[in-house]
């Protein structure tokens, strides 16, 4: 098997699994319980949260652990006020989001009448469009740190500085409306060195599942200025923002994974950049979609005139697993809004393949993958020509 879909899911690393294991069995206690063994678990949970927070330059108390990135993104939008957000007719919703955001941001933003910010043909935010769309009503801006289909890295620090200036400008004019910057960093966590202060974000979404941690565990970093409203209430865990017994093994796994990731950050980036180079030189007859400003492990190819979904099934037979931006089961028949946003035609979108590299890949696999993809593309071209 050659797995080239790390943006979709990563395997839990052995080390992470080993760290989690005791918390399913021997250390199973509810952190809220009164006896000492439970208090020990509670303390270890806090330490683990501290590790996760530290990795992004924050403190344990700034994090709300969630059941994944989707929940964290949904929670971030409660900064606008309790549900239902008062979106009465004629009121400016005050939400701006990047048009290439993941559905977990897009769907919430659209639900509350948010306005999309354009990207440039290279996938990077159109800062002029952002500036033009910020008004005195704007209260939340959501821009992911790295896009999940293209790997495009957004200039968050620049956006952060811009938001800071808007804030100062409002204060100067006596306007009380707050403005927050949220960023979904799920895809970027294992390839970029992230620091919330440097990025200037007020909220940041993290995801264990993309960094060799367990699925169903995420976190929202929230700065002290932001007032969130819990989506679920109950026992008041996570500073009252997310009730429910703590997922101790999940958070221990998350902390182990993020620690590992941080340690190997530079080595991994070099490794993936090298694999990417190999792929781009050995693959044939493609156009590279994500030319610049992209994470090192993302290779998005376009085979114009070919149905990439067919390639997926042909590659699957040869043991190579990749993704597509084309209409497929995974996207419920919808074409990729991301590829459309950067100006690809329907035919180019249909011919797009996304390869994302990760831990289990080695150089030999990358050579082999290039060979198999070339063959399959040739076969498919021959088939369509013969008909």
């Amino acid at each position: 098997m050659i797995y080239l879909d790390y943006a979709a899911a990563t395997p839990v690393s052995r080390k992470v699994l080993a760290a989690m294991e005791p918390y399913f069995t021997d250390e199973f206690f509810n952190p809220s319980a009164a006896y000492l063994p439970a208090k020990k678990v509670a303390a270890e949970y806090e330490v683990a949260k501290g590790v996760i927070a530290h990795a992004i330059g924050a403190k344990s108390n700034d994090l709300v652990i969630t059941g994944g990135a989707t929940e964290a993104n949904n929670l971030a939008f409660t900064a606008l006020g309790a549900e239902p957000y008062p979106c009465h007719e004629g009121a400016a919703p005050g939400i701006l989001y990047l048009e290439t955001e993941h559905d977990s941001v897009r769907a919430v933003a659209e639900k509350y009448g948010g306005e999309a910010i354009k990207v440039l043909p290279n996938g990077v935010i159109d800062l002029a469009d952002l500036k033009a769309k910020i008004t005195d009503e704007t209260r939340l801006i959501s821009v992911s740190l790295a896009n999940n289909e293209l790997g495009t890295i957004q200039p968050l620090a620049e956006i952060g500085a811009l938001v800071k200036n808007v804030r100062i400008g409002r204060l100067k004019r006596g306007i009380k409306t707050p403005i927050y910057l949220h960023s979904d960093a799920s895809q970027a966590l294992n390839l970029l060195d992230i620091n919330v202060a440097r990025l200037g974000v007020d909220m940041l979404t993290l995801n264990a599942a993309k960094i060799y941690g367990p699925k169903g565990v995420g976190a929202l970093y929230v700065s002290h200025d932001v007032k969130l409203t819990p989506i679920s209430v109950g026992g008041g865990q996570e500073q009252g923002l997310r009730s429910g017994t703590e997922n101790v093994p999940g958070v221990i796994g998350f902390a182990t994974a993020i620690h590992e990731t941080k340690e190997h950050l530079n080595g991994n980036r070099k490794k993936y950049a090298n694999y990417k180079r190999i792929l781009l030189s050995e693959l044939k007859d493609y156009e590279l979609v994500n030319k610049k400003h992209s994470l090192d492990n993302f290779v998005v190819l376009c085979y114009n005139g070919i149905d990439a979904e067919r390639l997926i099934y042909l590659l699957e037979e040869r043991g190579v697993y990749v993704a597509t931006g084309a209409a497929c089961a995974a996207s419920k028949g919808k074409k990729s809004h991301v590829l459309a946003a950067i100006g690809l035609t329907d035919s180019q979108i249909a011919g797009s393949l996304r390869l994302t590299l990760g831990e289990t890949n080695d150089e030999e696999q990358v050579h082999e993958a290039a060979k198999i993809i070339n063959q399959v593309v040739q076969d498919e071209k021959r088939r369509t020509k013969n008909e």
């Binding site: 979904e309 067919r310 099934y313 042909l314 699957e316 037979e317 497929c328 089961a329 419920k332 028949g333 088939r383 008909e387």
Partner: protein, 348 residues
Amino acid sequence: MSSQTVFVGMSGGVDSSVSALLLKEQGYKVIGVYMKNWSRDLPGMKCPWAEDLADAKRVAVKLGVDFEVWDFEEAYRDKVVEYMLAEFKKGNTPNPDIMCNQEIKFKLFYEKAMERGADFIATGHYARVLDGQLARAIDENKDQTYFLYRISEEALAHTIFPIGEMTKPEVKKLAEKKGLHNAYKKESMGVCFVGEVGMKDFLKEYIDIQPGEIREIESEKVLGYHEGAVFYTIGQRHGLYLSGVAGETNDGMPYYVVKKNLEKNIVYVSKNLNNENIWTKELVLKDVLLRTNLKKEILVRLRHRAPLIPAKFDGKKLIFESEIKRPASGQSAVLYDGEICLGGGIIV
């Protein structure tokens, strides 16, 4: 010599997959088509269309044939779903599969395929064509002519049923041997186009519930309450909320729905299997469609896979030799002469 072109309706199931495979092996130029008839998710019911489409396409790619998605959602909603809802509201129990074959698969799909230069269309139905006539499949257990009796002669003349001569186990075995991933895919149950959901749950999305009484027909006694008479079918014995009559009724005998009063929204039930409403020797049919000359002595099928019952038919009224359990109005009675499907009609 250029080979003949067949457009195959591929649903993602094993039957239509093997149909495409056989045609390809027989040398036809095959184009697989997924008919997108319904894609709406209802609350708590995930429509399986995207997975089915992926299954169909995966097989087409494996066979190395072209594959397309044809969108019939609008027509399906108008011709099948609307018809179905209207019939239920009238108190009938329509069969959406028969309508789908008549209006979509063997009409719109057929017409579009012909426009695209097809010599034939094909589907994964268990049925045969003998001397130009619709005939029952070899696999008596799987025969689907009950659903096909209303398709047009013109479409039938250009239709291939590649698996009509095979049994279901043979189809599965061949699929496995040829490495088709869906060889043992679970067959869809419930309302075909919505996935694993019962008709009542589906109807509730479109028809408001209207609480009413369930009465015993003999005594007029209220035995319980229901959510709307339209949701119940004559002969039904599950999903009845009977209460308050323990001891009196708790003799282990089930109650059957024997009558509905739509105006008063009352569902009548009975334990008496001899109730006159349950049994009949005659059935009147409407919208009769005869595919061929009528014979005096015929065989009748009143449900998919139900046994064939001997009867006489005068073009309107079916007369049985002995009493049969009365099917719900809106269902179809399909007529046979030996293996040949003569046509049928809708039970009044």
